[in-house]
């Protein structure tokens, strides 16, 4: 509850900051203070100090698992602000508003990780996505940005419509919105319930950009200003996954076997299509868009398996994937040329950036001693523990092997190809923060226990 209320308040504070001062650096500092406060109050709630005790009639429930997940997302946002906050100033003049919108998104993510009523799920997802439509269009004079926003908006509202319809079906069949109260899995399952589940599955697949509902993703990610793509592809996506898992665990967990095959097919298709398409991209930004689809396929294994290992794994996955992707994007924003050739010879001119980028890419590829390995490890163990559909695991690792191809193309360009100085200007503080992110990625890869210990307490 702390995080939901504070992030909403801070969004308003940010808007007023934009009114009071036009100085962009001040807005940035206020935003960083805000996210630090958000981390603190969320931590306090986790430690047992809730500031608010609003009666939500059981529509929200705060488990330590959801709070830890929030914490991971907020820490990633902190790094995102620190690394890319100053790049928002290049997008347009209303920097304070961008930050305000991001705080509203965070409010939505906090709801999406704690809902226990289908209405709250709907609210959380909507609060999360509506500010994103605006952010996608924030580069007002750019046609591609406008196109991305419109596409995102149309697809987003469409999938929201499906979600509402699914919720309506479920309500009609059971008479309740509470996820725990649906009482599914006992007795006969009516076609209405099955239709509701399928509709919810489709709309959630839209939100996490799973195949075959992924077509909006590459265009939106490519067209939006790169700073906001970074945010969309990481924190928002992870939160949507959390909502996906929470919904299917709490509401439909008891009839797991009935929908498991559908999720398995979606996961396999997502991994295959995402990875194969990423191989053929010429632009690193588009490649990252497809890689985010491919990674989503791996994350779907947690929903498929629906066990404790998968839940823990999703936290590790969210942290590993978000940190590494934010790091890659932070460097990408500084580049002028988004093609693979643009990275040629980067190691010679920016050795530290190239080395850190290598760490992030290795992590995304799931190489041991980086956080990405344990992310994949947990997903594979979860899927194996589930015991059914062994083929899904094989598809998963083969796709992971394919992903090496396109991640390593960047490494090859940086280290083994000759190129001109990309002349990127990065401050010392940027390098230091990126180094901290790199160290975090490696630390999580050597010892993920400290993150998981928080979950088990």
């Amino acid at each position: 509850m702390n995080a939901i209320i504070l992030s909403a308040i801070w969004g308003v504070v940010m808007m007023y900051t934009g009114v009071v001062t036009r100085k962009k650096s001040i807005s940035r500092i206020v935003a960083i203070v805000g996210i630090l406060l958000l981390i603190t109050v969320n931590w306090l709630e986790y430690a047992g100090v809730p500031f608010f005790n609003i009666h939500s009639a059981g529509m929200l429930s705060f488990s330590s698992f959801g709070l830890v997940f929030n914490l991971v997302l907020f820490v990633c946002t902190l790094f995102y602000f620190l690394l890319s906050g100053s790049d928002m100033e290049d997008v347009g003049d209303n920097v304070a508003d961008y930050f305000a919108l991001i705080f509203f998104v965070l409010c939505g993510t906090a709801i999406a990780t704690s809902f226990s009523s289908l209405l709250m799920l709907f609210l959380g997802i909507e609060i999360m996505t509506i500010p994103l439509y605006i952010l996608a269009a924030s580069d007002k004079r750019n046609l591609k940005s406008n196109e991305a926003a419109l596409k995102y908006f149309l697809m987003g509202t469409f999938s929201t419509g499906l979600m509402l319809m699914g919720i309506a079906f479920l309500y009609g069949a059971t008479g309740t919105f509470y996820t725990e109260g649906l009482n599914l899995g006992f007795g006969k399952i009516s076609p209405m319930i099955m239709a509701g589940i399928v509709l919810l599955m489709i709309s959630m697949s839209f939100k996490v950009s799973a195949v075959p509902f992924h077509f909006w993703t590459p265009d939106v990610y490519d067209g939006s200003p790169t700073v906001f793509t970074s945010f969309m592809a990481t924190i928002v996506k992870a939160a949507a996954f959390m909502a996906f898992l929470r919904l299917f665990e709490n509401a439909f967990g008891k009839m797991h076997t009935q929908w498991q095959l559908m999720i398995a097919i979606i996961a396999a298709a997502t991994m295959i299509v995402g990875n194969l398409t990423a191989v053929f991209q010429q632009s690193v930004k588009r490649m990252l868009a497809y890689s985010s689809i491919a990674q989503a396929g791996f994350m779907l294994l947690a929903v498929f398996a629906l066990n404790n290992t998968g839940k823990q794994g999703l936290v590790v996955y969210a942290a590993a994937y978000s940190l590494a992707t934010i790091g890659v994007f932070a460097v990408l924003i500084k580049m002028k040329d988004f093609t693979f050739e643009g990275f040629n010879g980067l190691a010679k001119y920016q050795p530290l950036l190239a080395a850190l980028l290598t760490v992030f890419l290795l992590s995304l590829a799931g190489i041991p001693l980086t956080a990405g390995f344990f992310a994949k490890y947990y997903m594979l163990v979860a899927a194996l523990k589930n015991g059914n559909m062994f083929w899904l695991v094989i598809v998963g690792v083969l796709c992971a092997a394919i992903s090496v191809y396109y991640y390593f193309r960047v490494i090859q360009a940086m280290y083994f190809k000759e190129g001109n100085d990309p002349e990127i200007s990065v401050s010392e503080s940027f390098k230091t923060i990126l180094l901290v992110v790199g160290i975090l990625v490696v630390l999580l890869g050597i010892h993920p226990d400290w993150l998981l210990h928080m979950l088990n307490d």
Partner: protein
Amino acid sequence: MLSAFDNFPALLIWFPLIGGVIAFLLKQESSVKTWAMFSSIMTLVVMGVSLLYTDPKHYLLNQVSYFWLKDLGSSFGLLLDGMSRILCLLTAISFPLIFAATWNTNYKNTNSFYGLMLLTQCGLMGVFLATDALVFYFFWELALIPVYFLASQWGGEKRIQAAFKFFIYTFAGSLLMLIGILYIYLKTADQSFSLFSFYNTVLSTKEQGWLFWLFFIAFAIKMPIFPFHTWQPDAYEQSTTAVTMVLSGVMVKMGVFALIRWLIPLFPDAVKNYANIVIGLSVVGMIYASCIAMVQNDLKRLVAYSSIAHIGLMSAAIFTLQPDAMQGVMIQMFNHGINIIGLWIVVELIEQQTGVRKISELGGVAQKAPILAIMLVVIALANIALPLTNAFVGEFLMFSGLFRFNAWYAAVAGLSIILAAVYTLNMIKNVFYGNTNQVTEKFREITIDQRVILAVIVVLVFMVGVFPGPMFQLVEQATDVLFKRISAK
């Protein structure tokens, strides 16, 4: 002085790791080289000292297990038994030899070259020592990544593609192995990655059947066994010689070693079921590789294909499940490493002076450099396993095991010995004898330090060839333990 805290397996990993990190930080070219040499010799010294403490009394010095990832049931477990001792010894000897042999080669970014080399050594040691499946997997990858960077950054024109092919191949294989590891892990009684828990886990014949292939493909790619070998000649040819020596001398042994340490004792039923397929593939690969080696005109490719043939024999011998063949394999892993590094050194010396690797363009080197010629002939004869050389002992045991398993296999595989003699002697004849031409006219005799390096190899060749006793002592106990495990299943 020696206590449970500074035990050998841990030292063998820490020394190259710390050495590698320091090498990255050094700026001056000469100091990097000296440091790398010093660091690798220190590792060799540790290895040498450890050979004095092989008896069970010093159990604690040779086996360690640190807590790590306790929640997952994994611990940092290392063990220095007879077989890993042989391979660690090979790793420890070969790195100083490689550094010495390529001392005069100048690399751009010297510090990262030597840093990556030492990290590779660390990864290799870890693979040979690990008794925990997750740690084994980690080191398996840790050995691969520095080699990928080494092979892509330094070498021939097509090096980037060749190294990438190598990387994707091995990475795909190791991911399949990871599934296998995770599956067995979930089956263990105590949810542990420990090798010994793995050994104690009962797997049905059906499970063994497909788990076998998941592991086998990973190892077969690394060794490589026909038809998984296609990355190898390109990677060997395109890499710079120092890296080729690591790849062919030590790295391919990862696959052979892993077969004996992990695959055979875990899935004995499947091994018996599929023995014919694997031996068949190996024998076909031996003949195939030998035939291609006969028509090779490039010295590096010739040695690469001869290596495929030798590894094929090792894998065939392993799957016969004969104790003495297994001993032969363990000994041969060491000897093959030494011999092939010797061959690469000779190739490197010729290429350094002439700039040519084509056999047809060379000739008459023996007139100009008789000492080099003598050294080469000894190493080449060792490579085709003449009596009194080191490889004879191992190959004899492997062939006798294969013969007892099925005489036909032995007969066909035996052909490869004849073919090996043909291409090796042919190469000697064309490169070293005959008349000099304008390429070899100005060939100079090798310098004193080059002689010393080759002499070390020649001494090793004869020492093991004439007195194989100490080696047998190391491998006998390892083989006993292995076969007890198989029969217990």
